[in-house]
Symmetry: C2
DNA sequence: TTGTAAGCGTTATCAC
DNA sequence: GTGATAACGCTTACAA
């Protein structure tokens, strides 16, 4: 490994001069600077991150937190899409992106301990178990945090506009003649699920429609949707003419279940999802759904985190930043 | 920030003793150790990663490399699935996972420079532009590397068994009466695409069937599949009775295109994909496909990388590790 | 403009 | 067993 001392020795100057030259300080003459840069390159010098960070106390790194316990993580393409956008944005600014881990070598650490250990600049919370004790201390630590879709209180949050989306769905369904709209909600430990349910009730209420036909799915996936629909048919005597599902996967489960029960989608019952997963274009029927803007969510989250790191005014406010969504009408609604 | 000096001062011992106690050295009496641990806990001590790494030259961190240029990255759920499995495995061993970046603060770095900068222990290459110059120096640097699905020469590789998968597809189609099998290949800059094409030719050759009906898709996605199918119908006079597509997305594009051309799947033409993307179960027709085992690929890759880091015998051999695949028969084949 | 030296928080090598 | 003390590679006052 080549160090600044090696360079200094070769040139015959002080290591501090090398350091300054490498950091493009104006306290070094141009000729010296040029010489040092040339030798550094020739010798294949690369700075050492740990030494630099130890000296500067600037880590230039950002942690990504997935609570593994929920079984929605990196694999869920909504989150990997957000992460991709986030990563692209912050890496371009020179930050490195590391997954927060609960283990270091052989020791177990809490999230906060890990952040201190790494001297992290900020943290993106992607998915989260709201009941996780470790999150509280993290939140109170003063470390810059931003979260997407998690619903942590007192944390800056970037999330799809579930209210706008739900309103668009309901109003669209009504405009197409729906009289009895049901909702298959997502699991209530998810903040978005709660928001969508709340919005559902609010909007129907505004139109003086009954909003009681609601079943909570156990999870966001296909099977939960299927099961929830079956539960709905057991619990209610009526049959809805439209179903608003809290996710595309749930919606697909609902559609399959409806088919099994002998209903036609959309002729008998319209179904709407949420997410706009790529393949919903190709299912049969293709799915009417609310498109979430992953890129924008990821980018906004990055901006808000960076603003906090840079201590910009108001940056740390626990404001919820709602990203617009779009209704994509396809074949599953009549 | 609490340091070992703070602890030492409070207790009235040397910092080196604290360090030893914290590292569970047997050079410290049990009573001292207990005392130190207690005080450390009480004071909220967390070690500093940078200082430790600087002193030990052990980084306990692994880099993940996505070549962004190809537009398949984190978002592609095949890769995010592999990454998830990989991450889980190595984090459990105490490694941290960081994305390799080309930028640090304001400086641009090559991959190798970044690895040196971070003093990384090893690197997982996920997607890669084979022509990327920076990869060569990385490969030759001696840093432990493992790759999935990339086809880098001289690098330990973990990949689905494309030969086995292709054989299963072809033999299955033949067993169902197919006489004329076409292949929509993936882009030839992808190693897997090349392997699947090669396997296709080999297997058909073994059965003395013609393997000339091949079109290369521009990419792995839906639209490329659709376009490739159209190109195939322009280029060949014959109509195949079965089409083997190099990915599920391509297969779905093919199916849509076939529908547009008035063909029925599977009645007129059978279609098979590759990947087993979750939603292919719910398309219409649901897709017969080859399931790749993401978890196993990720885990195997992790094991091989760790073995290299630990300098186990033969660990660095540039062996290709083929992970078994499974044929999932659904409705798109008759 | 350049050099000296202290310090960042650990670990590791010696003495004691 | 315990304690000084020198690394680790870099940045940064402060001197020269």
């Amino acid at each position: 490994m080549v160090t600044i001392y090696d360079i200094a020795r070769k040139i015959g100057c002080a290591s501090s001069t090398v350091s300054k030259a490498l950091n493009n300080s104006k306290e070094v003459s141009d000729s010296r600077k040029a010489e040092i840069l040339a030798v550094a390159k020739e010798m294949g010098y690369v700075p050492n991150a740990n030494a630099r960070r130890l000296a500067t106390k600037q880590s230039w790194s950002i942690g990504i937190l997935f609570s593994e316990d929920l079984n929605i993580g990196l694999e869920h393409h909504f989150f990997s899409g957000i992460l991709q956008a986030f990563k692209t944005y912050v890496e371009d600014l020179g930050y490195e992106v590391t997954f927060v881990s609960k283990k270091v070598g052989t020791q177990s650490l809490t999230y906060l301990e890990w952040c201190k250990y790494k001297d992290i600049d900020g943290i993106l919370i992607v998915t989260v178990d709201v009941n996780d004790e470790n999150l509280n201390e993290l939140r109170q630590s003063g470390i810059p945090i931003v979260t997407v879709d998690s619903g942590l209180i007192n944390v800056p949050t970037v999330i799809s506009d579930n209210f706008q989306g739900t309103r668009m769905v309901v109003e669209y369904l009504m405009s197409r003649g729906a009289k009895r709209i049901a909702h298959i909600a997502g699991p209530m430990r998810s903040f978005s699920a709660m928001e969508r349910l709340e919005a559902f009730k609010t909007v129907l209420g505004q139109y003086e429609m009954d909003a009681s036909m609601v079943v909570e799915a156990y999870n966001y996936d296909f099977n939960s949707g299927r099961n929830a629909l079956m539960a709905m048919f057991r619990a209610f005597d009526e049959v809805p003419d439209a179903i608003y599902a809290a996710s595309d996967d749930i919606a697909l489960g609902v559609i399959i279940a409806l088919k099994e029960l002998g209903y036609k989608v959309p002729e008998d019952i319209s179904v709407v999802g949420f997410d706009n997963i790529e393949l919903t274009r190709y299912t049969s029927p293709s799915l009417t759904t609310v498109a979430q803007d992953k890129v924008r969510i990821g980018t906004e989250a990055a901006k808000r985190l960076i603003a906090q790191i840079n201590k910009e005014a108001d940056a740390g406010q626990a404001v919820i930043n709602r990203v617009p969504v779009e209704l994509i009408v396809r074949e599953s609604t009549k």
